[in-house]
């Protein structure tokens, strides 16, 4: 029986794109199914992720897995080829640690800073910048968090690698990630997006920018 791999995703979701990036790194062919997460969630999504009702969901020979980081570990263990995680248990633990830090600290702090009302903005930006500073230290002179090639932490930080600069352009606030504030992290974002396998996994820049400009306009209109 030939392998059947499907991804239920959304074009603009960094979580969904993480999974696509991991599959592309491994050279795994898959069928992509676009989900309208803002409108109606399809019966397929509700069936395959009844607990969270979110994308991404990976379907491998009909068996569903949800939660992007859980999916990526599954991809790593199921398909050999280019490794996403280091082999050494300690290095693997460090990769998982930083991945959790990105997911549980950096992303929520950045999201809060982007959307916070003016009077709360300063504090939110300060918190988000502390996270970015800590994350930057994990690069430690390497080209990618994964070393010479993109690894789990790089994949998890795709929001910072691509989405964040676009959002900054949409909001007109450049005070989170800049070359002046975080030179090595900023450089990493350039390395990240120029990587050919990453490029294939990213949403179209113009479309994403237009999407966030519309969200910003909506947020301003409701003030």
């Amino acid at each position: 029986m030939s392998e059947e791999v499907k991804v239920l995703g959304n074009w603009g979701s960094c979580f969904s794109r993480r999974v696509e990036l991991a599959l592309k790194i491994k050279g795994v062919e898959y069928e992509y199914i676009e989900e309208d997460v803002y409108g109606n969630k399809s019966p397929l999504l509700l069936k395959y992720n009844p607990v969270h009702k979110k994308v991404p969901v990976l379907l491998h020979n009909g068996k569903p897995i949800a939660e992007s980081l859980v999916i990526i570990e599954y991809i790593e263990e199921t398909w050999k080829g280019t490794p996403i995680l280091p082999e050494d248990p300690y290095e693997k633990a460090m990769a998982r640690f930083w991945t959790k830090f990105v997911d549980e600290k950096c992303l929520p702090a950045l999201w809060r800073a982007v959307w916070s009302p003016e009077n709360e903005r300063e504090k939110a930006v300060e918190e988000a910048c502390k996270c970015l500073e800590t994350l930057q230290s994990a690069l430690n002179g390497k080209r990618f968090f994964g070393g010479d090639t993109v690894g789990l932490v790089d994949i998890a930080a795709n929001f910072i690698g691509f989405w964040l600069r676009i959002i900054q352009e949409a909001t007109g606030h450049g005070d989170l990630l800049s070359a002046e504030k975080f030179p090595t992290l900023f450089k990493w974002t350039d390395e990240f997006v120029s990587c050919s396998v990453v490029k294939q996994s990213l949403p179209p820049r113009d479309k994403l920018l237009a999407f966030f400009k519309a969200r910003v306009a909506e947020a301003n209109a409701s003030k």
């Binding site: 607990v51 491998h60 068996k63 897995i65 949800a66 939660e67 980081l69 859980v70 999916i71 570990e73 599954y74 263990e77 199921t78 248990p89 300690y90 693997k92 633990a93 460090m94 998982r96 640690f97 959790k100 830090f101 800590t134």
Partner: protein, 222 residues
């Protein structure tokens, strides 16, 4: 050279107790260092500068923080009595539910403990739904991991001692045998296991501890 394993933990923390349980299940000798969270040691701050939290495992001088990361590290380093299943799909399910426990159930438990009135009622409803979802994973199985205790049983260990104590202090009825018969049956099995009992949180001490913390929070928000 003999392995040197240290665990920086805290007696009332379910995250800390998870790691102890995994070490004991594997028969790994370790030195336990109790942390006073109101006065964190220099060593803790050195070994976990990012979060400054327990648990931290230090293996031959190298620190690993975050309980789920530590559990995976333990399983990969000491390969006897594997804690995670072999099959990648089963591993994914175990990881999915472990995340659910940490990101949903334990977070909602905090909300229940610190909220009051309508907000607390809503949180209790939320947690009841979440526990029902978790309970489904036990149906038809002896343990979450099948015939023997494993990763998800270790992560769900907070239900065995810790959770009931929180409920007792709060004086609410959200977790009972009537509501969750399958989970309670699982708890009865777990308490018969020696290493689980070795990681038991002392009840009276724990009730006092929770009471103090809840009161401190309530007075700080007045």
């Amino acid at each position: 050279m003999a392995d040197q394993v240290k665990l920086f933990g805290m007696w009332a923390s379910p995250y800390s107790r998870r790691v102890e349980l995994a070490l004991k299940l594997k028969g790994i000798p370790y030195e336990y260092i109790e942390e006073d969270l109101s006065n964190k040691s220099c060593l803790l701050l050195k070994y976990n500068p990012v979060h400054q939290k327990i648990p931290v495992l230090v293996h031959n001088g190298k620190p690993v923080a975050e309980s789920l990361v530590i559990l995976e590290y333990i399983d990969e380093t000491w390969t006897n009595n594997p804690v995670l299943p072999q099959d990648p799909y089963d591993r994914a399910m175990a990881r999915f539910w472990a995340k659910f426990i940490d990101e949903k159930i334990l977070i909602t438990t905090r909300k229940v403990s610190l909220a009051s009135g309508k907000e607390q009622e809503q949180a209790i409803e939320e947690i009841t739904e979440q526990l029902k979802l978790l309970e489904n994973e036990l149906k038809g199985k002896e343990y979450f991991s099948g015939h023997n205790i494993g990763f998800l049983d270790i992560v769900a260990n907070f239900l065995v001692f810790w959770f009931g104590n929180v409920q007792e202090v709060l004086g609410i009825d959200m977790f009972s045998e009537e509501k969750f018969p399958v989970i309670f049956e699982w708890i009865q099995k777990l308490v018969k296991i020696d290493v689980v009992n070795e990681c038991r949180i002392p009840k009276e001490k724990h009730l006092d501890y929770i009471r103090t913390r809840v009161e401190a929070f309530k007075s700080s928000t007045k």
